[in-house]
Amino acid sequence: MSNLLGFFKVPLRLVSNTSQRLRRARLLKKDCENTGWDVEAEQVADRLLRDVLGDRYSEFQRLGYLDVRSRLFPDVVYRLRMARPIEVRGVDRFPRQCRICVVVGERVPPSDELLAKLLWLQTDEARLLAVANRVE
């Protein structure tokens, strides 16, 4: 593969970025079809998420989740995935599969909802925990 890329004088990084973008676009379209979301609205939300996340956006694209370290509990990490409950990980005091669910009260695209969770965790974790329901 790298030989072929060398032949076409295409920088590997460029190909990687392009294929990541194509993959994300395909996933985004599929997500929207599955959830009934307007692709355009989700694209707007995705751009905002990318803007606010900065360098961490590529990490999110690559892994499919974002980990946010708790500020209240030193050994807790919240794992956030698109349109999924928040996984509470890495601590003995919570059961292994502990998940909590919180949603935006009005209809917003999945990327906006993820951003809302991130902002609440970052700025007022206690409030988010007070509102969230535990998912069995």
């Binding site: 905002l48 009260g105 009005e106 917003v108 991130l118 902002l119």
Partner: protein
Amino acid sequence: MGVLRVLCALGDTKVEWDIDVEQTIREAERIFSENAARGYASFRVDDGLDKAERIDRLDPKARQILQIPQIVGG
């Protein structure tokens, strides 16, 4: 120049203000207050997520503010 982005079903709607034009600031403040009264939470995100902060009033010096409808247990 600052921008207030209000999250909605379309992604978000933008309200921009110019710190040198009082009228644009007042309009942004009006929209900010209306949303806050409806329970929207406001976050200043000038420098990305890590330095995000919750705010109660619009600071005209802010570069980017997000307003998000209130969260509920799912």
